[in-house]
Amino acid sequence: MTAVMREPVSLPTRQRPRPPLAGAARSAASVIPGAARTAGPDIPGAAGVSLRDLLDPPRTPGRVIAAFPAALYLEMRTAAEPRVLAVVCSDAVRLPNSVVIAAGSRDRPLRSIHEGEEAWAGDGLVEVGALRVRVRRWWDPSPTLGPVALARLTHGVRELEAALADARFGLAGHPDPHLLAGRCADGDLAGAVEAAERIVGLGPGLTPSGDDVLAALLVALRALGGSVQHGRTALWLADWLGAAVTADAETRTTTLAATLLHCAADGQASAEVIAVLRGIAGLEPLAPALRRLLAAGHTSGADLAFGLLAGCRAVLTLSLTALKGHRASA
């Protein structure tokens, strides 16, 4: 291999004055559009692949529905989900519909943007006020867990239970989340849908607690259902439960929560939720991942963790039941 760096050489700076061009090359040589503007305002961003349908086509208009120091939420004028796109700082919770920028919230890169401002998304670009974020990279918000043994899942469920013992849930004392969890574990789709519909949009804030529980539940059912033996019932449940709660989510909860439910039905989750699922699958240490999740939002992290636990328990119970049936019939 050849040497890539010699010492003590300082690397040249990015903007190098170009010599004047001659002849036919003049028209074609400067091939970077807007290259003259290398110090221009385009900020690089990394987008979740769930946003491809929004960012690849030509620009569509929208508006800022919420502006926080670490995140902007834009609602785009489009008929299909995802309708809400988040622009987030690198230290913010990374929702599956996020375009992440490298700056941290301490640098306040979003400070000039206000609620209600016009926004545009498309052609690989998000534009709000003076902010122009160019998508440079795509990331996949669906967890890939590989095969997960039931023993591993049992262990993960126990760790999750222990960690959530003192967590503060947004829907503490409310019976329906528990009802939903129980019915999922029973494989009772109709009952689960009924319980789920009672918590869509329940709770204050941008992403009501009920929607957080549901989103995490759906993602756990899909990711783990596809990774354990005899996970077919869990996948079936994820399909139909997802279809049911997304059907009229637009009218029943906030636009952001509706988009996140759609993402969850497709198996997409925030990076913090994915890390916990990876921890349960034994792909990374679970405890720090859980700590990061529980630190997210006010009760949002705890609500998501509750949904994950419900999903994990359901997958475990359904697989064990199927395994028994399989053995009995063998």
Binding site: S90, G104, W139, E284, P285
Partner: protein, 469 residues
């Protein structure tokens, strides 16, 4: 989790970039948050030694072991007794602060304190006689650190002085350390004063203060100094130049037993008034506690952890865990700070005292952020204090699990100076200190900040390198 590279492949990489900025820029172009390093080359002559020490397969675990012991120590005050008894000091042997020293090289305050000790022990009738006798070599001198002891400023210990006895049982067999009782401010022996009032006070401390404290501590049982220090940090002490909260907490803790110690009420009142008049009373306990913690970290082969920093008024010396009892010394600097009354820089003696054991154990200057009340006293503003504590994270191995600083979100004080990090970064330990007058008998002339000479760390690094595997 084996073979999984700590989870590297499962999520977006979190990147530390050290070196060419173009590579960090390429990451920022991809919307990746990068933690940049403000890297500067270490001194050319240290490169081979750094490679050898960091390349020693024992180095990382040795450092973890050593600092682990320092952090695990739970020093307790278990007794108060005369130095002659607990240290086996014979008449004619005097302990002093800092690395070993001879009379010829001793500074003014060190000479003054030795003269005072001669007078206290009755080995001379007058200061002149004491000085002649010391110059003639009749007394033996040795470093406090060689006797598990520490002393503030001149740190002179003679057989009839009473000592706090500190014990730690968290690191294997019980380990003890010792420090004399604090005399208060003004004209005092530790600053080199030896006038009649100094000797008289020392006699009173031996006759009244020592026995009362002994009886009180024995009645009370072991006093948990870690708890007092931790609380005091949250009350604005940094435990070197400010010990007001810790002193108060100690008195509260012992008050009942002092009353019941059995001495006549006027004597008890003297004791309580004496402690009340001396905001630094706890310093000597904190020093002995730091000493026993640092001693627990000694003798781990391959470790580059500093286990002692000490000044004798002439030399600044350090000892390192991996190099045994060897001292690495350089000339003591002169502190930079504020002066009392009409004193000025010309009146200040070079840096002196074992109290840098506080910084060795992660307190004092390292805990400056906890003590905004005194930042101006050492010539700074509040942001400087926060910056100082943060800067010390660059050269230390750990954050103390118990000693927390509220304004830094309760993060622990930076603890355990690593010789290799000091040499790599050129960042020297920040030390809070008092200033002694240059002339014997003057006393304290000010307080401020001081830095150790950089060469002591380089010398220690080279010693570690020669024994690296």
């Amino acid at each position: 989790m084996n073979g999984r590279l700590g989870g590297l492949l499962g999520r977006e990489p979190r990147v530390v970039a050290v070196g060419a900025p173009a590579l960090a820029e390429a990451l920022e172009q991809q919307a990746v948050a990068v933690q940049p390093v403000d890297w500067r080359p270490p001194p050319a002559e240290a490169v081979d030694a750094l490679n050898a020490v960091l390349g020693d397969p024992r180095h990382a675990t040795a450092n973890a072991t050593a600092v682990g012991r320092m952090l695990a120590a739970r020093p307790r005050l278990v007794d108060v007794r005369p130095a002659g008894e607990v240290l086996g000091l014979e008449p004619g042997l005097f302990l002093h602060a800092g690395p070993p020293l001879e009379w010829d090289r001793a500074s003014g305050p060190m000479r003054g304190a030795l003269i005072g000790a001669m007078l206290l022990e009755g080995l001379a009738a007058s200061p002149e006689e004491a000085e002649r006798s010391l110059a003639a070599g009749t007394a033996r001198l040795d470093s406090c650190h060689h006797h598990a002891a520490v002393g503030p400023m001149a740190g002179v210990v003679s057989p009839s002085m009473w000592m706090f006895v500190i014990e730690d049982t968290e690191n294997g067999a019980a380990r003890r350390s010792y420090c004399s009782l604090n005399e208060g401010l003004g004209k005092v022996l530790r600053y080199g004063a030896y006038g009649p009032e100094v000797i008289e006070r020392l006699r009173w401390m031996g006759a009244v203060l020592g026995p009362v404290l002994r009886d009180a501590v024995r009645r009370h049982g072991p006093v948990d100094l870690t708890a007092i220090t931790a609380q005091a940090l949250q009350m604005g002490d940094e435990l070197h130049n400010r010990n007001r909260a810790a002193t108060s907490l100690l008195v509260r803790e012992l008050a009942g037993d002092i009353v019941l110690a059995g001495a006549p009420p006027d004597r008890l009142a003297e004791v309580l008034r004496f402690v009340h008049g001396n905001d630094h009373f706890y310093l000597n306990l904190a020093m002995a506690a730091a000493k026993v913690s640092a001693d627990a970290a000694r003798g781990v082969p391959g470790s580059s952890l500093v286990v002692a920093m000490a000044r004798n008024g002439t030399d600044f010396g350090i000892q390192v865990s991996g190099t045994g009892d060897r001292w690495f010394t350089g000339p003591a600097g002169t502190p930079d700070g504020l002066y009392l009354g009409s004193y000025g820089p010309a009146d200040a003696n070079p840096d002196i005292g074992d109290s840098t054991i506080m910084e060795t154990a992660g307190l004092g200057g390292f805990a400056m952020a906890a003590a905004p009340a005194i930042v101006r006293f050492v010539g700074g503003e509040v942001p400087d204090a926060l910056a100082a504590t943060r800067r010390m994270r660059e050269i230390t191995l750990a954050e103390h699990p118990v000693f927390q600083v509220p304004i830094l979100s309760f993060r622990g004080t930076p603890t355990g100076v690593d010789v290799t990090r000091v040499v790599r970064t050129g960042i020297l330990p920040v030390i809070n200190t008092g200033m002694a007058g240059r002339v014997a008998g003057t006393g304290q002339v000010g307080a401020g900040l001081v830095e150790p000479p950089a060469q002591v760390f380089t010398a220690a690094l080279h010693a570690l390198a020669t024994q690296a595997r």
